[in-house]
């Protein structure tokens, strides 16, 4: 579904991504792990068009993503749940969800989507009239995920949903994501620093270090790998 080949990108002249190739098949849950500054967020920003690549190719289905203007990419079925949540603070929870549903498919499926989102993340239903800026960090993260789901995406990209959250809240959000995936069969691409949890639930994983993919494989291969065990799992 998403095929990234030899992607290079950077901020100004400083390269952040260096020939990254990643493949996400329909229905897969793919995790990208790695330390701070490895280029994980830059990769997502390049997929969403906020960052211009200096080389490489991104295919989404049959579409050459680099030829699609950034604001059009959501309409192809890519939902980006950004790092640091980035909800719209002066809009209510409900209005934030409506913004998620700006795409044609989101508008078409609005009724059933909103029902499912409220079922998965009931706190959003409770707070639907509240301004998003007044929510707690965990609630904002749930709103950001709900907003992503509201577009009826083909691919849900999650950029560090656990960032800055209390461990128990992060655990809860992880469980929700796994439930959502089980019930919807949605294709997911996750970037995470909580390597153990990410690799446990994903079908396939990539380890990104200093802008390169240093390792990839299914979750057993990765979790059995000595480097991963030492560097990330603390074993």
């Amino acid at each position: 579904m998403l095929r990234i080949e030899g992607l290079s990108a950077g901020y100004s002249a400083k390269p952040v991504l260096n020939g990254v190739s990643i493949n996400v098949e329909a229905g897969q849950f793919v995790a990208i792990v790695g330390p701070n500054g490895a280029g994980k967020t830059a990769l997502f920003k390049t997929i969403s068009g906020i960052l211009q690549p200096s080389g490489g190719q991104i295919m989404f289905g049959d579409a050459d993503l680099l030829m699609v203007p950034p604001a059009q990419r959501a309409h192809l079925g890519i939902a980006h749940v950004p790092e640091g949540r980035q909800v719209f603070p002066s809009l209510t929870v409900m209005e934030n969800l409506e913004m998620g549903a700006m795409t044609e498919s989101g508008r078409r499926d609005w009724k059933q989507n909103i029902e499912r989102i409220f079922e998965w993340l009931p706190v959003l239903a409770e707070r639907r009239g509240q301004f998003a800026g007044t929510l707690s960090g965990g609630q904002q993260q749930m709103l950001a995920i709900g907003r992503g789901l509201a577009s009826s995406p083909k691919l849900l990209m999650l950029d560090e949903p656990s960032m800055g959250l209390a461990p128990s809240t992060a655990d809860f959000i992880f469980e929700r994501l796994i439930d959502i995936r089980k019930q919807s069969g949605l294709t997911m691409l996750l970037v995470e620093q909580r390597v153990a949890e990410a690799l446990e639930s994903a079908d396939h994983g990539y380890v990104l270090e200093a802008g390169r993919v240093v390792l990839e494989g299914n979750n057993e291969t990765l979790r059995a790998d000595d480097r991963v065990r030492k560097a990330y799992l603390g074993m």
Binding site: G49, A71, P82, V87, P89, S90, L91, M99, M102
Partner: protein, 311 residues
């Protein structure tokens, strides 16, 4: 007593039009954070468009002297909105929106200089085309009044043109707030203002949202300008007199709040008229800024500004 009520009425009437004028800038400066120093001059253009539509384009002949001016004024709105749309497309978009989102100051320095330049072109271009003779949109309503008997011995006179001006302002303000708060396009404008990057992730074309807001802001202020022109004569440099008031109103109301900009403008209108009770008229504008400073001293975020960090 009568003098006080008369000044209060005059303040409320002019305040409603000032409010509408500030709302136009509020969309551009408050919500989209684009500095537009030419906004007063867009308003001046709106006044002349209304003036020529009324006198030369047959609106006067068709609608008469009473209704005609207001028809011409309302038509000036869309005309200036289209003009604003193209100014944004060809000039402003190069120094605002996603193109400058990553720059220090979000392109504000370039916006400042560019829009000052546009202001100079409009002022001096206006001088060449329209001449320096004072113009005004005359209607017989400007020189007649309704008498409101509040008590048996106290009555207040409402200038008919100003009364209708205020009503038109309130109606347009209501329609605009509905558009901004309820409609899909209004919500996407607010989302684009809140967080342009996240709005792009939602599939909102942020630059287009900016353009729509800019056009809307120009159209709204043009209508307010036309309404002012039924009572105040104008000339190609009239924008300078109003642009500072507009910025004061937007800041007073609170950055990012449309309804706040309206109340900011209303406050300025009230202060301006009420100050004449105790101060010589030459000090009207000084009174505005004394009150402005006082309010900002106690409430730096303005009436409706919220102390939240923008993401």
């Amino acid at each position: 007593m009568e003098g006080f009520l008369q000044a209060l009425a005059a303040g409320l009437l002019i305040g409603a039009v000032y409010g509408l004028m500030c709302v136009g800038l509020g969309l551009i400066f408050g919500v989209m954070r684009v500095i537009n120093f030419a906004h007063g001059d867009f308003m001046m253009l709106g006044m002349y468009v209304a003036f020529y539509l009324f006198t030369a384009a047959g609106v006067q002949a068709f609608f008469g002297n009473a209704v005609g001016p207001f028809v011409a004024i309302l038509l000036a709105g869309p005309a200036l909105a289209i003009f604003g749309y193209f100014v944004h497309l060809t000039l402003i978009s190069h120094v605002s929106g996603t193109r400058t989102a990553s720059l220090e100051g979000e392109g504000h320095y370039a916006q400042l200089i560019l829009t000052l330049g546009i202001a100079l072109i409009l002022q001096n271009g206006g001088l060449i085309i329209f001449g320096s003779v004072l113009a005004s949109i005359r209607t017989p309503l400007s020189s007649s009044a309704w008498e409101l008997g509040i008590l048996s011995d106290v009555s207040v006179f409402i200038n008919k043109a100003r009364g209708i001006d205020a009503v038109v302002s309130l109606v347009i303000m209501t329609l605009l707030s509905l558009l901004i708060t309820r409609s899909r396009i209004g919500k996407s404008l607010r989302a684009a203002a809140d967080n342009p990057t996240a709005a792009t992730y939602m599939g909102i074309d942020v630059d287009r949202a900016h353009r729509v807001a800019f056009a809307l802001g120009c159209g709204i202020t043009a209508i307010a300008g036309g309404l002012l022109a039924t009572n105040y004569p104008f000339h190609p440099f009239v924008g300078l007199e109003y642009v500072i008031v507009m910025y004061a109103g937007v800041v007073l109301g609170g950055m990012g709040s449309i309804i706040g900009a309206f109340w900011g403008g209303m406050t300025i209108g009230l202060v301006q008229q009420m100050s004449t009770l105790i101060l010589p008229t030459q000090l009207q504008n000084a009174a505005i800024f004394v009150v402005f400073l006082l309010i900002i001293f106690f409430r730096p975020q303005g009436f409706f500004g919220r102390m939240v960090e923008r993401t």
